[in-house]
């Protein structure tokens, strides 16, 4: 459970050894080169502070793990370094509702 050692001089944080996602410590831009388990990866898209990226390639149906615990199921293929969010991850419990980009539309990301 949340045992964290976050004060590292890297742009991505690993919360727990068994996690398959990493957390951005700063705002990152598409094309930024980051180190994931010693491998240099160019980010395919922007990732803001606090958001998640894949630590390795993920297949649809795979569980996403953060803090060593399952936080939901991947709904699409996710490449290493790609942003993980409501477009490719769903809750195993309760749907997530968000406001769309324009701030006017309320949409549900349904749990299976």
């Amino acid at each position: 459970m949340p045992s964290t050692t976050p004060a590292q001089a890297t742009s991505l944080l690993l919360m727990s050894r068994e996690d398959n996602c990493l957390i951005a410590r700063v705002d990152l831009k598409a094309g930024d080169e980051v180190s994931i388990d010693g491998r240099a990866v160019a980010l395919p898209g922007d990732v803001r502070l606090g958001h998640k990226v894949a630590r390795r390639d993920l297949a649809p149906g795979e569980k996403v793990v953060r803090y060593g615990a399952i936080i939901g199921t991947a709904t699409a293929p996710v490449a290493i370094g790609a942003h993980i969010h409501t477009h490719n991850l769903e809750s195993d419990y309760i749907p997530t509702f968000t406001l769309e980009q324009d701030g006017n539309h309320f949409i549900g990301h349904k749990a299976p």
Binding site: M1, L49, H51, A69, T86, Y93, I94
Partner: protein
């Protein structure tokens, strides 16, 4: 590093109450008993801008056992010195029972009934006169030494983002572990935000029966929120990088630290000993009155009703709220939010993310701040005049027999 000895050495002080508890504030509360009396109550409070006079109330005209219990516990909270009740006159709130409970607690209490005293103007005049007397009367009370095991500290998170679970929540967890080691009672809550953590929590329970009750409590929350159609998850959470309820839950759970869980409370229940308690805020039975808590302050009121002297509020997106009756300490998780809203924040836990402080160091900073706040230092939300309060309809059964294993001991 703050230890139990250090907390004792800081020398806490509080106002002694007849029930043996001690308060860290000495507030005159003005409580309206139906929305129809709200305006008169507000006009009374507005006459005392620089005094510890706080406005609270219950808006409903229909009776509700939960609201009765919470009002009773809040008006006899150790931080309260005196209470004025403002009634319209025809509402169904049991004002006689409430006034009696406050009087029995040894506190001055007075009721203004607007329909009896001649309307708004005379209601305000009578109320102001009494509050002026009460404020003067309370200045004669003096603080006495208070032990760490007389302190109750609560925590809540609001406006969470992905940094909450990395910085502020684990730092509050570290503070909780230090406070519990010193003998304090600590309360964490929102079982709807612990969906996915129930089996972790079960392993931390001091008895197997309590562990089973914890799992049942979270299952109740999950079912209730599913019927409501929403988890405890707002669009801002997703904007901040959180994707699912269980991800938010795991981050929220870090606030509880690593101490054993010694009991479950329901709103208005008092912690019988020191140690870590889970507050079950989700109503029992079929959903009847809507969402369990319509916003963060409804939960803060429930934590206060359990005797919390001070509430640690972790926020990533940047909530600015405080509370009536008990000070709120805001622990900001996100360094960027802290830069934007520094005037509203008490602790910058974002330093953990930028590598300028460890979780333990920020935990110690929080414990030291609690001690100063207990002794009278204003939190940022107090200084800015925040006194939010929400109480609405709910329904609860009493807690089960396995919920407070230390009570009989």
């Amino acid at each position: 590093m703050t230890t139990s000895t250090d907390l004792a050495n800081i020398g806490l002080t509080g106002y002694p109450r007849a029930d043996g508890r001690k308060g860290i504030r000495n507030v005159v509360v003005v409580a309206y008993l139906v929305e129809c009396a709200h305006h008169v109550a507000r006009l009374i409070v507005n006459k005392f801008p620089d005094q510890p006079v706080h406005l609270i109330g219950f808006p409903g005209c229909y009776p509700n056992e939960y609201a009765d219990k919470i009002m009773k516990q809040v008006l006899t909270h150790p931080n309260v010195g005196a209470a004025l009740l403002v009634s319209l006159g025809c509402e169904s709130f049991d004002k006689g029972g409430l006034a009696q409970a406050v009087a029995d607690s040894g506190r001055p209490v007075h009721t203004v009934t607007i329909q009896d005293v001649g309307g708004t103007r005379s209601g305000v005049e009578g109320g102001v006169e009494w509050v002026r007397w009460a404020v003067e009367d309370l200045t004669r009370q003096e603080r006495v030494p208070m032990r760490a095991d007389e302190l109750v500290v609560a925590t809540i998170c609001g406006g969470s983002d992905s940094t909450s679970g990395i910085t502020a929540n684990p730092a509050v967890g570290a503070a909780f572990d230090q406070l519990i080691a010193a003998g304090s009672a600590c309360v964490f809550e929102e079982t709807g935000e612990l969906v996915g953590c129930e089996f972790h929590m079960k392993r931390r329970a001091v008895t197997p029966e309590l562990g089973d009750e914890i799992v049942r409590t979270v299952e109740k929350a999950s079912r209730y929120y599913t019927i409501m159609g929403h988890g405890s998850f707002a669009p801002g959470n997703a904007d901040g990088g959180l994707t699912t309820q269980e991800e938010k839950s795991l981050g929220a759970y870090a606030k509880s630290g690593a101490s054993p869980i010694v009991g479950i409370l329901k709103p208005g229940d008092q912690a019988p000993t020191g140690g870590l308690y889970l507050l079950d805020v989700v109503p029992d039975g079929e959903p009847r009155f809507g969402f369990p808590n319509i916003s963060d302050n409804a939960e803060i009121v429930e934590l206060i009703s359990c005797g919390a002297h001070v509430t640690l509020f972790t926020t990533g997106r940047g909530s600015v709220v405080g509370s009536a009756i008990a000070p709120v300490i805001k622990v900001c998780a996100n360094p960027r939010t802290y830069d934007k809203l520094a005037d509203d924040m008490d602790v910058n836990a974002g330093r953990i993310l930028t590598g300028h402080a460890s979780i333990e160091e920020v935990g110690t900073e929080i414990v030291e701040l609690i001690a100063r706040v207990a002794n009278g230092e204003c939190t940022r939300s107090e200084a800015l005049g925040h006194q939010e309060f929400i109480l609405t309809y709910k329904q609860f059964e009493p807690i089960g027999p396995g919920c407070l294993p230390l009570k009989a001991a």
